[in-house]
Amino acid sequence: MKKLALGELLFLVIWRDLVLAMRRRADVLTTLVFFMMVVSLFPLGVGPELDMLRKMAPGVLWVAALLASMLSLGRLFSADYLDGTLEQMMLAPQSLSVLVLGKMIAHWLVSGFPLVLVAPVLGLQFDMSAQSLLVLIAGLLLGTPILSMVGSIGAALTLGLRGGGVLLSLLVLPLCIPVLIFGTSAVEAVSSGLSVVSNLSLLAALLVLALLFTPWVSAQALRISME
């Protein structure tokens, strides 16, 4: 059998994970429904005044996105770990980092991207302006992949541990704080008439950094967990 090129491998892993996710659609939908529910609970908790809701909206949406991504991270490697696929993947002659990158991208497409798509609708519930919504979506597009990537480190480290889910959140949430801050600050900047470029650039910079380092770190974490 010929050795696959890295690009082909990446594509193959993404495609496989997407197909698997489509076979278990309920998992994908649960994350999305969770996201919508958490966001909708906030107005019930703090009251329906539109002024306050408009102010809270970016924070609420971002925190909900953060929590929703934590929820789905546990599944990133666990199914493959349980049925032995992960072990086979680690034996593959290609770089494990690329494989992990493929899984991260697939995870984002399945659990991060749908959140970005429904976020504007939820934003309307909070009476956000069109401009703010646009910045929110841009921020989420840049930020949610970082959550998937940083989260994958935690997912790899907690692989197969008891109480993995809660532990995973404990490890990953503090590391995601910068993303949360830059994402919400961008929206606040636009609603107070400031430039959004700085915050979005910082998010993009974090994305580039994460793309560079997290696949490799995650691969190392997997090696530690699997030996």
């Binding site: 480290l157 541990l161 590391l175 704080i177 910068p178 600050s185 974090l206 974490a221 530690i224």
Partner: protein, 245 residues
């Protein structure tokens, strides 16, 4: 003469060395602590603007400095353990974590005590307070991850990776929190660089040194327990006087 640097990386050799040097750290730590507290609370004059309440900084500042410094030391030991596969380095990292978390907690606690009379609130979302809180969370993550993996070697390596990722992330977190804070509420009350009274400096310095020595002594004490626990099936542990008794 070639010095064998790695002699004390063997847990059995280090166990004895640590046992011998602990008093050399513990005793000065106690003396400096008492002297520092005395200077801070009785000798140093009260502050012109802040009155007596400022004296909390004699505890607060050393605790904050040490909590941050110890995280870096912990990450460095963890990295050593991961790279050179030395068991002792990982044990040191594990032993440092609770002390670091303790200092972070003390720093937050005293910060709240200082904030109440100064800012009128127990908690202000000040950039430094917030970063300290996040640092405490990072310590908790390290301890929790280490505790939930049964295989010690795997726990060491996994926690080491987490500590390194955390250490890389700390500056990013710190600056993001700082910018977030300035965007939200502008400058809060800060220590303007008024020249400190000499007694204040002395007290602060003594307590910082005391905290540092305390951290070393406690870490060595803890690492001795960890060594005993992990090496309990070896012959040298069975031959120890304190074990045989």
């Amino acid at each position: 003469m070639a010095i064998n640097w790695f002699k004390y990386s063997a847990p059995s050799a280090f166990y004895n060395l640590a046992g011998k040097v602990i008093p050399w750290f513990a005793v000065p730590a106690t003396i400096l602590f008492v002297a520092g507290i005395y200077t801070g609370f009785f000798v140093a004059p009260s502050d012109a603007q802040q009155g007596e309440a400022y004296r909390i900084i004699f505890i607060h500042v050393p605790a904050s400095i040490l909590s941050m410094f110890l995280y870096l030391v912990m990450a460095a030991y963890a990295a050593l353990g991961l790279i050179f596969n030395t068991r002792l380095s990982s044990m040191m990292a594990t032993a440092l974590a609770p002390t670091g978390a303790l200092f972070a907690f003390v720093s937050l606690w005293t910060g709240a005590f200082w904030g109440k009379p100064m800012w009128g609130a127990w908690w202000v979302w000040d950039a430094r307070l917030t970063s300290e809180l996040i640092l405490l969370f990072l310590y908790f993550g390290f301890i929790a991850l280490h505790a939930s993996i049964d295989d010690v070697r795997r726990a060491d390596r996994a926690a080491a990776l987490l500590a390194i990722v955390g250490a890389v992330n700390v500056p990013i977190i710190y600056f993001s929190v700082r910018w977030w804070n300035t965007l939200h509420q502008g400058a809060t009350i800060k220590f303007t660089g008024t020249s400190m009274h000499i007694a204040m400096q002395q007290a602060m310095f003594m307590l910082l040194l005391a905290g540092w020595l305390y951290a070393v002594a406690v870490t060595l004490f803890r690492v001795r327990s960890i060594i005993l626990e992990r090496e309990k099936n070896t012959r040298w542990v069975a031959e120890l006087v304190e074990v045989q008794q």
